[in-house]
Symmetry: C2
Subunit: 679 residues, 2 copies
C-alpha cells in the first residue's frame, strides 16, 4: 500500500472524531451542586457574550479583507481566506466550549480525588488539541484538493493567522484587564483571597482565562501549524523540480508527516494517566516525550518504506529535538525550584523595583538558550537537508521540515496547554463554591501541573514559530523569484534590505506597546469600577449573606475594552507591511520581515519568560518562603507578577502570531508587489 | 591655501588648548565655605579612589589584549591599541577632574544667581567635551601620520572602545548601586530627602554621578567618534581607487570634516549664554542647533572650495539632521510636559505595576521614530552618495559620512551632556550644605536644564552609534573582501548568516542582563549596609549634631562591586564574537554583527527612553501633581524610577559601546578569521 498526501485529511477526520468522543466523555460527568453550576453558568455566559461580540466585529474585518483579496488578487484566494478564518474560529470556539464544561466538572470530581479530576481536565484540553489539528489539516487538505495549488492554501493560512491574531489580542487584553483589575483591588487593597466571590471582577477574571488562554492559544498553534505546512508545501513544489524523488513529491511530504503527527498525538492523549497520588505535571511531560519518540519512530518507518529522502526525516527530527530542548531550557528560567525564580523572589526583599530588575534580567538571559536552539535547529536541518537532497533550495526546505517536525505533535501540545486554564478555572470554581481545604489542595496541584506543562509547550510554540517564519521568509523569496524570474537575495548591505530591517525591528515593539497600553487603560477603568462597588455596595466587603457584587458590569468593561483596542494594532501591522512592500519593493520587504522576526522572537521570549518567572516568584513566596503571604516581600512580588501578566498573557504570545501574519501578508501579496512597487 | 587632513590634528590641539583655558576659568572660581569644600573633597576622594582601582584592573586587561594583538596580529596594532586606551581613559579622567571642581564652584555661585552658576557648570562640561574631541582626533591623527595605514587606526579605535566599554559598565554599575541603595533606604524607608547628609549612601551616590555619568559618557562618545572616522577612512581608501576625486582622497575627508566640527564646537561653546532669568535648557539646545547650522555652512564652503564631491557633504548633513530629528522625537517621549510622561504618572495612581507597564510600553513606542530616523538617514545618505559619486562602495561610504556628520559636533554635545551631572552634583552639594530655598531653586533649575539637553544629546549618541556600526559592518566586509579577493555578501537566506544573526541578537540582551543583575546584587549589599548604619548609629536618623554616617564603607561597597562585575560581560561579549568568527567564519560573523546591531539598538532605545520617562514621571508628581511627594501615587512612581535607573544609566548606554566594540573586534581580527575559520 502506498501512502500519499490523503493521509492528512483521513487522520484529520479521525482526530475530529476522537475529539467528539472525548467531548461526550467530558459532558457525561457531573457538574456538581447548583451553586457550582451557577458559577459555571456565569463564566460561560460572559465568555459567550464576549465571543459573540468579537465574532461580529471580526466578521466585518474578514469580509473587508476577503473583498480586497478577491478584487486585487484572486477570488479563490479570498474564499480560501474566509475558510481559514472560519476553521480557526471554529477550533477556538469548540475548545472553549468544552473547557467551560470541563472546569466545573473537574472541580466537582476533585472531591473524589486527583485521579478523578485529572482526566476530565486533561481530556477537556485534548478536545481542543485534537480539534485544532483536525480542523487545520482537514481545512488545508480541502483547499489543496480543490485547487491543487499550494498558493491558494496560503490564503487559507492567512485567514487562520489573521483570526488567530485577533483572538490573541482580544483575548489577551480581556484576560489581563480582568486579572489585573481583580487582583490589584481584591488581593492587594482589600486583602481578600484570589477567586473570592465577593470580588466583583472574579467572573470576568475566570472568563478571561477561557477567552484569553484557551481560545487564544488554540488559535495561535492552529496558525503556526497551518503556516509551517503550507510554507513547506510551496518550498517543496520548487524543490521537486530540481531534486529526484521516489514515491511522493517534496511538496506533499509535510502533509504526510502532519498526518503521522496526528496519529501519535491521538496515541499520546490516550496514554496520559495519573495515579491517586501521582504527579500530574510529570504525567503530562512524560506524555509529551513519549509522543515525540513515537513520532520519530513512525516517521522513520514511513520514510524508509516510501523511500523518502532521509534528509527530510532528519530535518523533522532535528526540529522536534530542538523544540524539546527549547522547552526544557525555558523551563529552567521559569521553574519555581530553580535559581532564577528563587533569586527573583529573594530580590523582592528589597522591594518591588529590585524584583522587577532581577526578573527582567533573567528574562533577557532566558533568550539565549532558546535562540541558540532555533539557530542550531535551523543550521542543522539546513545542513542535513542540503547534504542528503543536494539540490538548490533543499536547505530552506529542511528548515521548514524542522518546523513541521516541531509542530507535528501539536495535538498533544495543545492538549497539555489547554489543560492549564481548565485546571486554573476548576480551582477558581472550587474556591468560590467554598470547598474544603483538601479539595482545594487537589485543584491547586492540578493548577501547578498546568504551569509545568505550559513552560515546555510554550517553548515549542515559540521555537516552532521561529522556524516557521524563517520558512515563510524563504517562501516569500521563492514566490518573488517565480514572479520575477530573477534570483533574489536579501543582502544586509543592500540599503533597501537594511532600511526594511530597521523598520521591521520596530514593529513587534510598537505592537506590544499598543496592546499593553490597552491593558493598562482598561485595567484602570476596571479598577475604578471594582473600587466603586466595594465602596457603594453595603456589606460586600464583609461578605454579608445575600449581598452580591455586580459581576456583569466588570464583564462588560473587559469585553468592550478588548474589542475596541483589538483593531488598531492588527490593522497597523498589516498596513505597515503592505506599505513597506509597495513602497520599498521585495528587497525592503524581505529585510523588514527578517527584522520583525528577530525582534519578534526577542520580545516573545523576553515577555513570556519574564512573566512566567515573576508569577512563580510570587508563588514561591506564597508557599511560605521569605515571610510568606501578606509580607512586604510578597507585596513586592505581587507587583512583579502584575507587570508580568500583560507580558506573558497579552503581548508575548501575540508576537508569534504577529510575525506569522506579517510573513503571510508578504507572501500573499508578493506577486502584486512585484508588479506595482514604487522603488 | 589647500586644506588637507592635517586640519584634524591642528584643530584637535586648538580644542585641547581651549579646554585648558576653560579649566583654569573654572578653577579660578571660589569653592565656597569650608563645609562645602569638605563635601566636595569627600566626593573627589571617592571618585579618585574608584578610578585608581579601576585603572589598575584595566591596565592588566589592556596589557593582556595588547599581548594577544602583538603576537597574533601586529605589534604596531598593539601599540595603537594601548595608545587608544590611554587617550580614552585620559579624556574621561580630565573631564571628571574638572567636573569634580565645577560642581562645588557652581553651587557656590548659585548664591549670586543663575547667570553666575550656569557658566561654571557649562564650561566645566565644555572642558570634557573639548578634551574628548581633541584627544580623540589628535590621537588618531598621530597613529595615521606615523603608520599611514587606516587599519592601524582601527587598533587605536579598538583600544578606545574597549576602554569606553569598561568605563560605561564599571561606572554604570557603581552609580546605580549607590543611587538605588541610597534612594530606597533614604527616600522610601526613612522618608528623608534626596542628598540628605544623614544618608550613609549620599557620598557614594554623588561619586557615582561622576564616575558613571561624566567619565562613562565621555568615553562613550569618544569611542563612537573615533570609530566613525576610522570606518569612513577605510571605506574611503577603497572608494578612492574607484572614484575620481579632486583635491583630497575620500579616505581623508572624514578627518577634514571632523576638524571643521571641532571649529564649530569651539564656537558653539563660546556662544552659549544665559541671562539672569533666562532658561538654561533652551540656551543649551539653541547652542546645539546653532552649532549644527554652522557646521553645515562651513563644511559646504569647504566642500565647494576644495571641489569635494557634493554627495559627501550631503551625506554628512543628512546624518546631522537625522541626529537632531532623533533627538527631538526622543525628547517627546521623555519630556515632563508631554503625554507619555504625564500618562505614566497618572498610571501610578493604580500602583507601581501599572506605572511600570505604561512606562515600558511608551519606551517600546519610542523606538519607532528613532529607528525610522536611522533608517532614513542611512538610505538617504546611501542614495545621495551613490548618486553623486557613482562608484561601487559609494553608498556605504555615504552612510559612514552620515555618522561622521552626526558626530562632528560631539564637542558641543558632550559639553551639554556633561553639564547635567555637574548641575546634579551642584544641587546635591547645595542640599548637603544646607543652602536656603532660593538657592536650591536655582540649582534645581540647572538640574532640570541638564535633563532637557540630555534627551537630545542621547538621541544623537544612539543615532550616531547606529550609523557607525552599520559603517563598521561595511568596513568589516571591506577588509574581508580585501583579504579573500572575493565579493562577500551577507545574505539572510544563507544559513550561516542566519545562524549568526540569531546568536547575535541574543548578545545585547545577555549583556544587559549581566550588568543589571550586578546592580541588583550590589544594591542589595548597599541597602543592607545603609539600613545597618541607620539601625546601629545612634542619633543618625534624627540628625543629632556631630553624628555622622560612615560614608566610606558605602563608597567601598560600590567600588568593589562594580569592579568585580565589570570583567565577565566584557570578556563574554568579546569572546563570543571571536568564537562565532573562528567557528562560523566571515558569513556567520557578518550575520552575528547585524543581529547584535539590531538588538543593541532596540534595547539601547528602550532602556534609555523608558528610564528617562520613569524618572520624569516621578518628578512630575514631585512637582505637586496627583497628590505630590509622599502620596501613594508618588511611591508607585518611585518604583518605576528605580527600575529605570539601571535601564537608563547602566545597561542602556553601555549597549552603544558594546556593539561598537564587537564590530571593531570583528574588523581587527578579520584577516586572521579569513585564514583560520573552521567552517
Amino acid at each position: 500500500m502506498m501512502i500519499d498526501w490523503t493521509i492528512a485529511p483521513i487522520t484529520a477526520i479521525a482526530s475530529i472524531l476522537v475529539a467528539i468522543y472525548l467531548y461526550f466523555y467530558v459532558n457525561r460527568q457531573s457538574s456538581g451542586t447548583a451553586k457550582m453550576q451557577e458559577i459555571a453558568d456565569a463564566i460561560q455566559e460572559g465568555a459567550k457574550a464576549f465571543l459573540k461580540v468579537e465574532f461580529k466585529y471580526l466578521a466585518v474585518f474578514v469580509v473587508v479583507v476577503a473583498a480586497v483579496l478577491a478584487i486585487f488578487l484572486d477570488p479563490i484566494m479570498a474564499v480560501a481566506y474566509v475558510f481559514g478564518s472560519v476553521c480557526s474560529a471554529l477550533a477556538g470556539f469548540l475548545g472553549m466550549t468544552v473547557a467551560l464544561k470541563a472546569n466545573v466538572k473537574s472541580a466537582h470530581a476533585a472531591k473524589q480525588g486527583l485521579n478523578k479530576a485529572f482526566p476530565i481536565a486533561f481530556r477537556g484540553g485534548a478536545v481542543m488539541g485534537l480539534a485544532v489539528v483536525g480542523l487545520a489539516l482537514l481545512g488545508l487538505s480541502v483547499v489543496y484538493a480543490l485547487t491543487n495549488d499550494p498558493n491558494m492554501v496560503l490564503g487559507f493560512s492567512f485567514g487562520a493567522s489573521a483570526m488567530a491574531l485577533f483572538a490573541k489580542i482580544g483575548g489577551g487584553i480581556y484576560t489581563k484587564t480582568a486579572d489585573v483589575g481583580a487582583d490589584l483591588v481584591g488581593k492587594v487593597e482589600m486583602d481578600i483571597p484570589e477567586d473570592d466571590p465577593r470580588n466583583p471582577g472574579v467572573i470576568a477574571d475566570n472568563v478571561g482565562d477561557n477567552v484569553g488562554d484557551v481560545a487564544g492559544m488554540g488559535a495561535d498553534l492552529f496558525d503556526s501549524y497551518v503556516a509551517s505546512v503550507v510554507a513547506v508545501m510551496i518550498l517543496g513544489v520548487a524543490l521537486s523540480k530540481l531534486a529526484p524523488y521516489a514515491s511522493i513529491s517534496y511538496g506533499d511530504v509535510p502533509l504526510v508527516f502532519a498526518g503521522l503527527g496526528i496519529v501519535v498525538s491521538i496515541l499520546g492523549v490516550a496514554i496520559v494517566r495519573v495515579g491517586k497520588n501521582g504527579n500530574p505535571g510529570s504525567a503530562l511531560n512524560m506524555g509529551t516525550y513519549l509522543t515525540c519518540i513515537m513520532f520519530a519512530a513512525l516517521t522513520y518507518a514511513v520514510t524508509y518504506y516510501m523511500e523518502i529522502n532521509i534528509g527530510v526525516w532528519a530535518s523533522a527530527v532535528i526540529g522536534l529535538v530542538g523544540g524539546v530542548v527549547i522547552g526544557i531550557t525555558t523551563d529552567y528560567f521559569t521553574s519555581i525550584d530553580k535559581a532564577p525564580v528563587i533569586k527573583t523572589a529573594e530580590a523582592s526583599q528589597t522591594g518591588a523595583a529590585v524584583n522587577i530588575i532581577t526578573g527582567f534580567s533573567y528574562g533577557l538571559l532566558s533568550m539565549f538558550p532558546a535562540l541558540l536552539g532555533i539557530a542550531f535547529a535551523s543550521i542543522g536541518s539546513y545542513t542535513v537537508a542540503e547534504h542528503f537532497i543536494g539540490a538548490e533550495g533543499a536547505g530552506v526546505y529542511g528548515i521548514g521540515m524542522a518546523a513541521v517536525g516541531m509542530l507535528s505533535i501539536v495535538g498533544m501540545i495543545v492538549a497539555g496547554d489547554a489543560f492549564g486554564p481548565i485546571a486554573d478555572n476548576a480551582g477558581g470554581i472550587a474556591e468560590q463554591a467554598g470547598f474544603e481545604e483538601e479539595v482545594l489542595d487537589i485543584t491547586a496541584k492540578l493548577d501547578a501541573a498546568g504551569n509545568t506543562s505550559k513552560a515546555i509547550t510554550k517553548g515549542f510554540a515559540i521555537g516552532a514559530a521561529g522556524l516557521t517564519v524563517i520558512a515563510l521568509l524563504a517562501t516569500f523569496k521563492e514566490i518573488a523569484q517565480a514572479e520575477t524570474g530573477q534570483i533574489i537575495s536579501f543582502n544586509l548591505m543592500d540599503p533597501l534590505v537594511l532600511t526594511g530591517a530597521l523598520i521591521g525591528i520596530a514593529i513587534p515593539a510598537v505592537f506590544s506597546a499598543m496592546v499593553m497600553l490597552s491593558v493598562g487603560k482598561n485595567a484602570f477603568i476596571m479598577i475604578e469600577e471594582i473600587r466603586r462597588q466595594f465602596r457603594e455596595i453595603p456589606g460586600l466587603k464583609e461578605g454579608k449573606e445575600g449581598v452580591k457584587p455586580d459581576y456583569a458590569s466588570c464583564v462588560d468593561i473587559a469585553t468592550k475594552g478588548a474589542l475596541k483596542e483589538l483593531i488598531p494594532p492588527s490593522v497597523l501591522s498589516i498596513g505597515i507591511t503592505l506599505a513597506v512592500g509597495f513602497i520599498g519593493g521585495i528587497q525592503a520587504l524581505g529585510g523588514y520581515l527578517a527584522g520583525s522576526i528577530f525582534s519578534g522572537l526577542i520580545f516573545a521570549l523576553l515577555m513570556s519568560n519574564a512573566g512566567g518567572l515573576w508569577d512563580n516568584a510570587k508563588k514561591y513566596i506564597e508557599a511560605g518562603a521569605l515571610g510568606g503571604k501578606g509580607s512586604e516581600t510578597h507585596k513586592a512580588a505581587v507587583v512583579g507578577d502584575t507587570v508580568g501578566d500583560p507580558f506573558k498573557d497579552t503581548a508575548g504570545p501575540s508576537l508569534n502570531t504577529l510575525i506569522t501574519v506579517m510573513s503571510l501578508v508578504a507572501s500573499v501579496f508578493a506577486p502584486t508587489i512585484v508588479m506595482y512597487a514604487l522603488l
